[in-house]
């Protein structure tokens, strides 16, 4: 073993985070591929299951300026609320053509966009999860990823019962994590959620302890 510890002894301390910095290479990002959660692998066709969605918004800093060249990462259940992962007791029923993970690189206006399907809710030990997409922001000045969750309008009862959304003490904060319905375009339902990394109390996005 390395000098950092031993297999049998005390746990190894996890490596410290550092900022993504301003220069994450655009060459490591393929627009339309890396931000498409519906494809299991590069080049595979998107899953046929579920309601296609586009989840989009802007990443903003204090004062409303855009966070340029920031990464937004997304992870969600499939349309049936399943994960292809051993921690999901129903993983065998997971959509075999759906990945559920992707990342977007923000443009000069701080915009990100994901192509996905509307996630299903599921029952968890912590309570019934409403349909949601977990989001993480990495950017220059962000020293550890900032994590939050996008919820969807039209699921008022499920959202009210969700144990993660309920971790926010204030209804105004909970409402801020529900994406806005912007209708349909290009065969997909459009949802918008801006991520305000820092702002006044009326606009700042609530983020969770990672």
């Amino acid at each position: 073993m390395s000098a950092t510890g031993s297999r049998s002894g005390a746990p190894l301390p996890p490596t410290g985070w550092q900022t993504l910095g301003p220069f994450f290479p655009q060459a490591l990002f393929r627009d339309g591929v890396d931000n498409d959660l519906r494809r299991r692998r590069a080049g595979a066709p998107p899953t046929a299951r579920g309601v296609p969605i586009r989840l989009r918004g802007r990443v903003l800093e204090e004062g409303g300026g855009p966070c340029v060249n920031a990464l937004v990462e997304a992870w969600q259940a499939d349309a049936g609320g399943r994960f292809r992962h051993p921690l999901d007791p129903d993983w065998r029923e997971a959509d075999p053509d759906f990945l559920g993970w992707g990342r977007a690189l923000t443009d000069a206006a701080g915009r990100y966009e994901f192509l996905s399907v509307l996630p299903g809710g599921y029952r968890d030990a912590a309570g019934p999860r409403a349909p949601h997409v977990n989001l993480a922001v990495l950017a220059s000045g962000v020293m550890r990823r900032l994590v939050t969750t996008a919820f969807f309008p039209g699921f008022a009862a499920a959202n009210a019962a969700d144990p993660v959304l309920s971790a926010l003490p204030d209804p105004a904060l909970r409402a801020r994590l529900v994406a806005k319905d912007e209708g349909e375009a290009e065969g997909a339902r459009i949802f918008r959620l801006d991520l305000v990394l820092r702002g006044d109390p009326e606009t700042e996005t609530p983020f969770f302890l990672d």
Partner: protein, 240 residues
């Protein structure tokens, strides 16, 4: 499907080993971190899981940043960076996607956003790479030692020591890691505000690679070892 156990227990980070904000002289840390305290949330299935095979989506490349083609060699000190990706129990993390990016030997990024200075670009230096870890959690990159560069902006200008940006996509959302690797003995290390954002000196020391005794290294590359430990303990059995 994984044929190795996956961590399913993610203790909270030790704050002394993680960067604290804001950082003086790095204005973005004041503008881009929430004013409000982070909210505690339960770890449900979405938080605990992640894509089992990230390399299927983020396809690994060559791992050689310094020799983009026959007869083309980047300027600077040729180095090899290798090491292992482990979980907190010291078990190797296989199939993790590692990405690195860095300045060239002159301290310039091959990124149109790094245009504020006269430091030259090197047409033979790629500047970024991507590999996946093997069954023992091992990875390796051939590259050049990056140059230091000044942090742009107002009064109190400071310099970044030579460093390599590292991103690791592991087996769980909660094991995600983005960090920077530093070089041993650099006089800029103790002055770097980003490295020093980690309060615990031992945690800072773990971000500094170890140089392999040059007498033990074959070929023309100076060798550095850098171990990465992802958050996560205990094992969930793999899918049958």
């Amino acid at each position: 499907m994984p044929d190795h156990p996956l961590p399913d227990c993610f203790p909270p980070y030790d704050e002394a080993g993680q960067p604290q904000v804001p950082i003086e002289g790095y204005a973005a840390t004041a503008r881009r971190n929430p004013a409000r305290a982070l909210f505690r949330r339960p770890h449900t299935r979405t938080e605990l899981t992640g894509p089992l095979d990230p390399a299927a989506k983020l396809v690994p490349g060559e791992g050689n940043l310094a020799v983009p083609g026959p007869g083309r060699v980047a300027l600077g000190q040729l180095i090899h960076i290798s090491g292992r990706v482990l979980d907190e129990d010291g078990r190797p993390v296989r199939g993790a996607v590692l990405e690195i990016w860095q300045a060239n030997a002159a301290g310039r990024y091959a990124n149109p956003l790094d245009a504020a200075r006269d430091a030259p670009l090197d047409p033979n230096f790629v500047g970024h790479g991507r590999v996946a870890t093997d069954a023992e959690g091992r990875y390796g990159f051939f590259t050049v030692k990056p140059g230091a560069y000044p942090v742009p902006g107002g009064p109190g200008r400071w310099w970044r020591p030579p460093h390599v940006h590292v991103s690791v996509i592991g087996p769980s959302s909660l094991s995600r890691l983005v960090t920077q690797m530093y070089f041993p003995g650099d006089p800029l290390n103790p002055l770097d505000r980003i490295l020093n954002a980690l309060p615990d000196p031992a945690a800072r020391e773990r971000l500094i690679a170890r140089q392999t005794d040059p007498a033990e290294v074959e070929g023309e590359w100076l060798a550095y070892r850098f171990t990465l430990v992802l958050r996560g303990r205990r094992a969930t059995p793999p899918l049958p």
